[in-house]
């Protein structure tokens, strides 16, 4: 494909005919929209599996003596639960899923920069997931999603499969990061300057380099762990001269930025949902965009705050504590800006908006407990306990997953042309919020009072609270089940939505739902930032998109 920046309508203004045949169209597709939906569907499938494992954990913990599973099985279950939710659900959902579907549309592009690479990225993901679950057959890994050596060197053969699976899914994510970075830099429609990019695009743009740089460090760590386990190359085993702390540094050099990989795109979702349903410009556009970039940069300078108890040199701990607290500033700016966006709005209560509002409260709780943990003396108390479990779940369930639901209700009409059922949506919302807080609020207390994480049995004094948590977790699971029923039912039976049911102003809503293969008949020109609701929609050249005018496929195109 000839790529010239001087072509009218930016680069790649060239429509290929849609491939025919089921395989090329829906399986090995190179269409970013299909790939996005493939990511979302696959992630949800793994979410069902990861969610079942979560319920097994909650059933085990209803008795202080355990007994539902053997400790070894229990250890396998929570390890695969954590690994699934991080690498097979949230990371692929927010980058490969929403990123692929929404972000090229929002910048007025026909596809991502490297469509074939995009397909390759996706097809690393399902095999990696299957490999991870196949490890149950030979004895799954047991040391938690962090797999600290030396204990992970003792685990069964499944641990090596875990290394390979996470490595594989990581390569796919890295390629997506490269793809998105190039797409954001080179494929924006004419007139879409940086200050006119929608905030979801900013979020993906900030996430892409994070994915690229951090995931490669994880790949190195995993390769070393794999070699040590399979071939005895001593990287981490102290009896052979290795260093167990090396793994922790490498792992957290990835896994702390990974938290931002999992939350920055969700910030982008919230920044789109809020203005649309408050009927107001997003407040402080520039500061929200800037804070995404600064969070991405700072995210690389905080990894050792996971290691305050590990035995770092004392003065090495301080910069990590300070940088971690600094991240609270751009994060606070975002939260305050979202609040200010609500002020003076005419808020329309769709399910998407309900989830977005709940996100502010639950994510703020996770953010505040994050600042607690950054303070080293408090971390000495709470590290490795249920307080950490509460914190990570408030960030990833109260934050990422709540935002993902907002995004699903918001963009479902664009993906399918139909609404999800709003009544069922409201039930989902209330049950989810009640279940979420009932499950995770008491964990803060448990952790401080003396319940360590990753235990198959625990002190009987904590049994009542654990039972209450388990009951609430069943409510949350039921809510998620309602969501799945809704999403499946609405594909055929949802109310037809039309091209722009929310009267939203970003580019994806100016074309038909679902968008045609080529996205735009003519690449539009962007005249302004999308968020001024009292102005006409700021795009030129969209006149033909909703009409029956012929698709301008060049002669001889293939």
């Amino acid at each position: 494909m000839a790529v010239t920046a001087s072509q009218p309508g930016g680069i790649a203004d060239h429509i290929h005919p849609e491939p025919q045949g089921f395989i090329r169209k829906y399986v090995f597709s190179i269409d970013h929209k299909i790939i996005g939906i493939q990511y979302i569907v696959t992630s949800f499938v793994f979410m069902v599996l990861g969610g079942l494992l979560a319920e097994l954990i909650r059933i085990q913990l209803m008795n202080a003596n355990g007994g539902f599973m053997t400790p070894d099985t229990y250890n396998e279950v929570y390890t695969i639960h954590g690994s699934t939710m991080v690498w097979l659900v949230i990371v692929p959902m927010v980058t490969g899923g929403f990123g692929n579907f929404v972000f090229p549309l929002q910048i007025g592009a026909r596809d991502v920069a490297f469509p074939w690479l995009n397909m390759v990225s996706f097809w690393m993901f399902p095999p990696a997931g299957l490999l991870l679950y196949a490890s149950f057959l030979v004895g799954a890994p047991v040391a938690g999603w962090t797999e600290y050596p030396p204990v992970s060197l003792q685990g069964g053969p499944g641990t090596s499969m875990w290394c390979a699976a996470i490595f594989l899914v990581g390569v796919g994510t890295t390629l997506t990061g490269i793809n998105f970075l190039v797409t954001a830099l080179k494929m924006r429609a004419p007139g879409m300057t940086f200050t006119r990019m929608p905030l979801f695009v900013w979020a993906q743009f900030a996430t892409a380099p994070l994915v690229m740089i951090a995931t490669t460090a994880l790949a190195a760590a995993l390769a070393a762990l794999f070699m040590e386990r399979q071939f005895g190359v001593p990287f981490y085993d102290p009896t052979k001269g290795g260093s167990p702390l090396l793994w922790q540094h490498m792992f957290w050099f990835y896994s702390h930025p990974a938290v931002y990989i999992m939350i920055l795109p969700v910030f982008g979702i919230i920044s789109e949902v809020f203005p649309t349903f408050a009927r107001k410009p997003i407040f402080g556009y520039k500061m929200i965009a800037f804070s995404s970039i600064s969070i991405a940069l700072l995210g690389f300078m905080v990894w050792a705050h996971h290691m305050f108890t590990s035995g770092l040199a004392p003065f090495l701990q301080l910069p990590f504590m300070i940088m971690t607290m600094v991240i609270a500033i751009p994060t606070g700016i975002k939260v305050f800006s979202w609040l200010a966006t609500l002020w003076g709005g005419k808020i329309q209560y769709t399910t998407a908006m309900l989830f977005a509002i709940a996100f502010i409260a639950t994510f703020t709780l996770g953010g505040i407990s994050g600042v607690f943990l950054a303070a080293i003396p408090f971390d000495l108390w709470a590290h490795g306990t249920y307080f950490i479990v509460a914190h990570i779940h408030y960030v990833l369930v109260g934050g990422s997953l709540t935002g993902i639901f907002a995004g699903m209700f918001y963009w479902y009409p664009k993906m399918t042309g139909r609404f999800m059922n709003e009544t069922l949506g409201r039930w989902t919302f209330w049950l989810f919020v009640i279940g979420l807080n009932g499950t995770f609020v008491p964990m803060h207390w448990l952790g401080l009072m003396g319940m360590p994480r990753r235990v198959a049995e625990y002190d009987p004094q904590f049994q009542t609270i654990n039972r209450v948590e388990s009951l609430f977790s069943f409510v949350m699971t039921f809510a998620i089940l309602l969501f799945f029923i809704n999403a499946l039912w609405s594909i055929r039976h949802g109310k037809r939505a039309g091209h722009n049911p929310w009267h939203a102003r970003t580019l994806e809503w100016q074309i038909p739902s679902p968008p045609p293969y080529y996205n735009f008949k003519h690449i539009p020109t962007v005249l302004a930032n999308p968020y001024a609701f009292d102005e006409p929609v700021p795009y030129a050249g969209l006149e033909d998109e909703l009409t029956d005018s012929p698709v301008p496929i060049p002669a001889g195109a293939h």
Binding site: P150, L245, K280, G311, M325, A328, I329, G344, F372, P452
Partner: protein, 363 residues
């Protein structure tokens, strides 16, 4: 495109809500200030009181912030909903930003975080930079129990760790196998037990009582069982009785936690197998099992006693068993950095003999 920003009036409703939230926030701050934290979880040691003070500060300010965020969130969500009589696509106030507001909500959190950083560092310095004085005790993590070593008590004690109230303690932590974490919720503090590394906790027990010791780092199948041992703070007399009893009981074993001495090491009794295990517990953080040039902190020790290219040790002495033992006893300070002495590394002379026997097998 330039927008003219509409004028913003924060009405009476806003200020009433702000006032109400301020009251709720003040009440929650007060609740945290008077919260009986020591009643929920006893404060066994002096550091627990300091960490609780920091927790009080964090919890009070965090709750106040949460009250304001969620309070405004709910207020805005209710007050600015689209009413039944609004047109279906009624617009909100078209404001885009406000520099003064954004300046203040950047500055105020920044100032707060500076205060938090200073407060945290102050408490952190008391915890991390304490002097290595007082009673030295060693705790070793095993799959799946802890053992404890005391000065002049031979052998490892397995049931409980006793300490006298009011006397400063330096606790040295390491592991015999995988990473564990030594946590006494009553002390608030924990530190990981990393094979090949010695981590230290300093504290003074303040309250007589029995406190759970819990492993807080996943360490294998029975990790959840590692909460059955006790950290016991005794009155001095009771402690002395306990200590004497153990000293008598274990008089035949020979690996007491040492005080530093230049007593001769009995090389003949050295067991290379035990030495190998000790090496992985206590040496590998700084020394590789590789050639001299493979340096971590100190040099690689493969062939330390048999390397014709390096006939001398780093302190210039000839590479003999006696001189290696001398470094292990007294430590080293020089071009290569610093190595702690046998007290800091919790190596008895028997340990040293075992280590030298092991090092002697490395060629």
């Amino acid at each position: 495109m330039e927008h003219r920003e509409p004028a913003v009036h924060l009405g009476r409703g806003f200020w009433s809500v702000t006032f109400a939230l301020a009251i709720v926030a003040a009440l929650s701050i007060y609740a945290w200030v008077v919260a009986p934290i020591a009643g929920w979880l006893p404060e066994a040691a002096n550091k627990a009181q300091q960490i609780d003070a920091l927790f009080r500060f964090l919890a009070a300010s965090g709750t106040a912030l949460f009250v304001f965020v969620v309070g405004y969130l709910l207020y805005f969500a209710i007050a600015f909903r689209r009413r039944a009589n609004d047109p279906p696509d009624a617009l909100g106030v078209q404001i885009h930003d406000n520099n003064a507001l954004e300046f203040w909500w950047t500055l105020i959190p920044t100032v707060f975080l500076v205060i938090l950083v200073v407060f945290s560092i102050k408490i952190w310095a008391g915890i991390e930079l304490g002097p290595n004085t007082g009673l030295t005790v060693e705790a070793i993590g095993h799959q799946w129990y802890f053992t404890f070593r005391y000065p002049q008590i031979n052998g490892e004690i397995t049931n409980a760790m006793h300490l006298p109230v009011g006397q400063p303690v330096t606790l040295r932590l390491t592991s015999a196998d995988v990473i564990h974490s030594f946590w006494v919720p009553g002390m608030r503090m924990k530190a990981d037990m990393v094979p090949g590394l010695i981590n230290t906790l300093h504290f003074t027990p303040k309250r007589v009582g029995r406190y759970q010791i819990i492993c807080a780092e996943f360490c294998g199948t029975l990790h959840g069982e590692m909460d059955k041992q006790w950290f016991v703070v005794d009155p001095p007399v009771k402690y002395a009785a306990w200590y004497d009893a153990w000293q008598k009981k274990n008089s035949t074993a020979s690996n007491a936690l040492p005080v530093q001495s230049n007593a001769r090491v009995a090389f003949g009794a050295g067991d290379a197998k035990i030495g190998k295990q000790l090496f992985s517990q206590k040496c590998t953080a700084c020394h590789a099992l590789g050639p001299f040039s493979q340096r971590i902190v100190g040099p690689g020790l493969l062939g330390v006693l048999h390397d014709p290219a390096h006939p001398n040790l780093v302190n210039g002495d000839k590479a003999t068993r006696e001189n290696v033992a001398e470094i292990l006893q007294n430590g080293y300070k020089g071009d290569m950095g610093q190595m702690p002495n046998q007290t800091a590394n919790a190596l008895s002379n028997t340990d040293i003999a075992n280590l030298v026997a092991y090092l002697n097998t490395l060629k």
